[in-house]
């Protein structure tokens, strides 16, 4: 019982090393704080969810998929590249949120700059054939064996050999342990420094951080599913709020309706649904007569100046703008999607719907 009491509502694995800083910053923006007494510790607590503290386990991004799959944690944040490479049809991992919006990178094929004749995947196919004719195989160094193999096969390239390289992948062509590489890049700087170049049609996968969960663990435990819902609400609301600005302004008018009509007529300040208009109880009576109204509307950051200009034209003064931190909708769409994913998918399994012979259907 003691162990059960100690257990927190949810266990979440976060990537250590390279991704740690960005992940903590992202959670911070969602209003979730991770307190770690000692940066060398690999366990911590995260506060900010109504359901209580969340147990945090720091792990290497590459291990998080396996930990979630083994249900030693219910949730994990890792790179989509890792999920795509490691997932199989029969694992227990569900993609809870596919696009957390940070740690963006691409898995790409890169070839030596000196291969001036190679500019596209089509050239790779020919070079592979050419090498083959001289008794060699095109050696591709990668840590993403499944994605790379499928990518090349799908493009009709079958003559290649995947090689494992310990240490820096980018150095493999220079060291002649591989001919080309398939690796992650975000800015391309590392590739260029190693005299490698990307090629047209050579992007295997676009990736970013994502949130994954264990299907069975979430289904088995209502409290962790509830905690997941809270976490998703905050993440969604934060992602939706990005680049949104809340504008307030004062406007004179006969009634709330007439003010709202004037604002909507400008066409540039519609807001998420429409403006909110509320009466202002002025401290001094207005010499010109008429009433004052306060107006609130949320617009996207890119349309900020246009919206302010439109409000001025409609007669607004005292315009203030605040960055929006969260936008909550009536339902959490990703949570609804997650619930659908958690449903057992037996009905769709064609093997179960066979009609003819009983012996072939599942036992």
């Amino acid at each position: 019982m003691l162990a059960a009491e100690r257990r927190m509502s949810l266990r979440l694995a976060l990537p250590s090393k390279g991704m740690e800083e960005d992940t903590l910053a992202f959670l911070g923006q969602c209003g979730l704080s991770v307190d770690r007494t000692n940066p060398r510790q690999y366990r911590a607590r995260m506060r900010g969810l109504p359901s209580g503290p969340v147990e945090i386990v720091f792990q290497r991004a590459t291990d998080i998929f396996d930990e979630v799959n083994a249900a030693s944690v219910e949730l994990g944040i890792t790179g989509y590249d890792i999920v795509a490479e490691h997932r199989s049809e029969e694992d227990d991992v569900v993609l809870v949120h596919a696009e957390l919006g940070f740690q963006r990178c691409s898995l790409v094929l890169a070839v030596p700059e000196g291969w001036v004749d190679v500019s596209s995947v089509a050239d790779i196919a020919e070079v592979a054939t050419e090498l083959r004719a001289s008794g060699r195989e095109l050696r591709v160094a990668t840590k993403y064996r499944n994605l790379t193999r499928q990518f090349l096969y799908d493009r009709g390239i079958t003559y290649f050999e995947l090689v494992e390289v310990s240490g820096a992948l980018e150095a493999a062509p220079a060291l002649d342990t591989a001919d080309i590489i398939c690796d992650l890049t975000s800015s391309g700087v590392t590739l260029r420094e190693n005299r490698l170049k990307t090629i047209a049609g050579g992007t295997v996968l676009d990736s970013q951080a994502c949130l994954i969960g264990n299907r069975r663990a979430l289904l088995a435990d209502h409290t962790s599913l509830e905690a997941t819902r809270g976490l998703l609400e905050l993440i969604e609301a934060h992602l939706r709020s990005r680049h949104q600005v809340s504008l307030t302004a004062n406007m004179r008018g006969e009634s709330a309706e007439s003010v709202a009509r004037r604002v909507l007529a400008t066409g540039d300040v519609a807001g998420l649904r429409g403006p909110t208009v509320a009466p202002v109880f002025a401290k001094d009576p207005d010499p010109e007569g008429g009433a004052w109204f306060a107006l609130t509307v949320v617009v996207s950051e890119s349309g900020l100046l246009r919206a302010v200009e439109a409000l001025r034209r409609a007669g607004a003064t005292d315009v203030t703008a605040t960055a929006v931190r969260y936008v909550f909708e009536r339902d959490s769409w990703t949570f609804e999607a997650l619930k659908r994913q958690l449903q057992p998918s037996k009905a769709g399994d064609p093997l179960k719907t066979r009609t003819r012979t009983t012996a072939w259907s599942s036992s």
């Binding site: 162990a3 059960a4 257990r7 266990r11 386990v57 249900a71 030693s72 944690v73 049809e89 029969e90 070839v111 030596p112 700059e113 000196g114 291969w115 001036v116 004749d117 500019s119 596209s120 995947v121 089509a122 050239d123 196919a125 020919e126 070079v127 054939t129 050419e130 090498l131 060699r136 050696r139 193999r149 499928q150 096969y153 799908d154 493009r155 009709g156 079958t158 003559y159 062509p173 002649d176 591989a178 001919d179 170049k197 090629i199 047209a200 049609g201 069975r216 663990a217 088995a220 435990d221 064609p350 093997l351 719907t353 066979r354 003819r356 012979t357 012996a359 072939w360 599942s362 036992s363």
Partner: protein, 509 residues
């Protein structure tokens, strides 16, 4: 985490998706079907052959085509690249090359065994399925093609499938055109791989053209993102090759782009760069190739011949198909339920076919079901390392699909008898009695080994469809009789042991 109690209960182990446990009575039915088909092949002089389920990956990379290669179960085991075979023809030809080349030709083989393809499972498509087929090695021409066509049709007839559609094509038409267009082998492969999905309506022609052009480096000849502008190769193209190569290397070196690429020599890189610049835009070629495929699909009857002639292509492929079909009729009529269709755009998922190809479809509730197919593959031996090409052809059925397509068999009631001892002391005598009963041809005699007494034995017999139970106790042994119970009529008789065999037969057979 290890300090915490296991939250998740151990899950039952599921079978791998797309595979089946073949349970009784399907197992007996499928084994019977396989034996029946193979017996038919033996009558034509085909001999059984078995090859391993695991093969070197390389065997299928050479000539299978992307449809197969991208769907293989491939893995590395102790640094050896292996796979589960996706089909058997390549394996049989590997065996032929290895051990059977000295034999007088033709050689005829039949085989059956599991094959594996990582495809989306559906009603009649599994990731492990059983191929049953033949290969006829060392014979070219319509006579051999006709024999294989006949075997494929006759096998279906033998197992009661009389309504089906036989589609016959010939790769020669499309291969001729691709060669006429001057397409590279790689480009030809990309086109051939897409013929099947187009034929099945899974891919439209415009998309196929765009795909292939993209994979060939795009309409601009693939200069996008290149380190060298396309102007340089154009200018160099007018010079003699050695001079052009030297100048290009010099310019690249001055631009501090030393042309070095590990396993690739600078000379090759520059030669390829120049060759690439001189290459025409592939769009027209690819467009023309797929237009031809579409045309072949639409044309019927004599239009096919004029279609080929109009393009200046040889009509030999069509002649071969017609020759094989007319020889096929010499084997006897196919029956009213058989539709024969000639379609020169037919391409199978495998890239090793070179000549006549065919597929057989049976109409089912969910649409046409392909039960088998095959064709001629004259280049496979050379692709697998043979010194000369050896003409060969063959076909295979998907055993599970043939099973699905044939009429349901009458439920066969097995003549099962249970011999049970009344008490443990009687068991040795019951064993001896069962042994004697098994001498009766056709009887299936089970022994009660749970030894829980007559009541339990009778209940088990009742529930598992056993037709008769023979009970033996001390009293019966003393009297030299056994109790025989007919499970259908529930009548019991005491039968002298020397008459028991006859009495049991009368009840169950």
């Amino acid at each position: 985490m290890s300090s915490e109690p296991a939250l998740i209960q151990a899950q039952a182990i599921q079978r791998v998706r797309g595979t089946n446990d073949v349970l009784p009575p399907a197992d007996a039915r499928l084994r019977g079907l396989e034996a029946e088909l193979r017996a038919g092949f033996e009558a034509f002089g085909y001999q059984g052959i078995q090859t391993p389920i695991i093969e070197p990956l390389e065997l299928f990379l050479r000539k299978s085509g992307e449809e197969i290669v991208a769907r293989m179960y491939a893995f590395s085991h102790w640094n050896r690249r292996l796979c589960l075979r996706p089909e058997l023809t390549a394996s049989v030809m590997r065996a032929f090359l290895g051990d059977l080349q000295g034999h007088s030709l033709p050689l005829r083989f039949h085989y059956a065994g599991p094959s594996f393809r990582y495809e989306r499972p559906s009603r009649a498509r599994f990731r492990q399925f059983t191929q049953v087929g033949v290969e006829l090695i060392g014979a070219a021409g319509p006579a051999a093609d006709a024999e294989v066509l006949h075997l494929a049709c006759r096998g279906l007839q033998d197992v009661g499938i009389n309504r089906y559609r036989l589609i016959v094509g010939h790769l020669g038409a499309v291969l001729q055109l691709l060669a006429q267009l001057g397409m590279s082998e790689h480009a030809q492969g990309l086109v051939l791989d897409r013929m099947e999905p187009i034929g099945r309506g899974r891919l439209d022609v415009d998309k196929a053209v765009a795909d292939v052009v993209g994979l060939l480096g795009g309409p601009a000849g693939g200069q996008a993102n290149g380190a060298v502008s396309s102007g340089l190769p154009d200018a160099l193209a007018s010079l003699p090759p050695e001079q052009a190569t030297a100048i290009a290397a010099d310019i690249l070196a001055r631009a501090s782009l030393p042309v070095e690429g590990g396993s690739r020599q600078a000379r090759h890189i520059i030669q390829r760069l120049l060759a690439k610049a001189n290459r025409p835009d592939p769009t027209d070629q690819v467009q023309a190739a797929f237009e031809f495929v579409g045309e072949l699909q639409r044309l019927r009857g004599f239009e096919v011949r004029t279609g080929l002639e109009r393009r200046g292509l040889s009509t030999a492929p069509l002649d071969e198909v017609e020759g094989a079909l007319s020889l096929l009729s010499a084997y006897g009529p196919l029956g009213d339920g058989v539709e024969v269709e000639v379609d020169l755009s037919l391409a199978r998922g495998l890239r090793y076919y070179t000549g006549l190809v065919f597929e057989i479809y049976v109409e089912s509730e969910e649409g046409p079901l392909q039960v088998g197919g095959g064709g001629r593959y004259n280049d496979l031996v050379r692709a697998l390392g043979g010194r000369a090409s050896v003409p060969a052809c063959g076909f295979s059925y998907g055993l599970e699909r043939v099973d699905l397509a044939r009429p349901a068999l009458d439920q066969v009631v097995q003549p099962r008898v249970l011999v049970a001892a009344v008490s443990e002391q009687d068991h040795p005598a019951a064993v001896a009695l069962a042994f004697k009963l098994r001498q009766v041809p056709g009887l299936v005699v089970e022994q009660d080994v749970r030894l829980r007494g007559p009541k339990a034995a009778l209940r088990h017999a009742d529930r598992s469809g056993i037709l008769a139970v023979v009970l033996l106790g001390q009293q019966e042994r003393d009297e030299g009789v056994a109790v025989l119970r007919d499970m259908r009529t529930r009548r019991e008789t005491r039968v002298p042991l020397d008459q028991l065999a006859g009495a049991v037969r009368a009840v169950v057979l």
